[in-house]
Symmetry: C2
Subunit: 87 residues, 2 copies
């Protein structure tokens, strides 16, 4: 098993990666204006789920949850907006 | 603010939605074989992030984290595999 002192850093790395990984998807759509393969139900539902995580984080006063889900929600709403615009 | 008894259900709903929302994206790709607008770096990084969340969940012995991230990882690896296959 992992040393216990490492565990919080694994969680931080997980939060960082799953937050900022959507930047290349958003940039690809901005560059190509191609959203045909993007599923609107998937991204709309993911945005709702992220909003629920944000409400959860605010309810717990958990700063990492609040920060990472605020950034994620901005990126997801950008992708949803681009999908709605480009079809 | 929300009643404190509701808070765990918000977290469960968030985990459920952010896990299963990727099903319509995977199904869309299986149906259309179109992955052109999908960013491989985004989905590959998201899969790595989900794997980190899974390691974090296992380290904490947290069953909700383990279950939701196992399902998520399966869905994400399906999408990554389809992207690699269809280009």
């Amino acid at each position: 098993m992992l040393p216990q002192t490492l565990v919080p850093y694994i969680g931080l790395a997980a939060a960082f990666v799953t937050t900022f990984c959507w930047l290349p998807q958003a940039l690809r759509i901005i560059r190509t204006r191609d959203t045909r393969a993007i599923s609107l139900p998937a991204y709309a539902a993911f945005s709702c789920g992220i909003a629920l995580w944000l409400v959860y984080g605010i309810s717990l006063g958990d700063l990492p949850l609040i920060l990472s889900n605020t950034v994620s929600l901005c990126l997801q709403l950008t992708i949803v907006g681009l999908k709605v615009r480009y079809g």
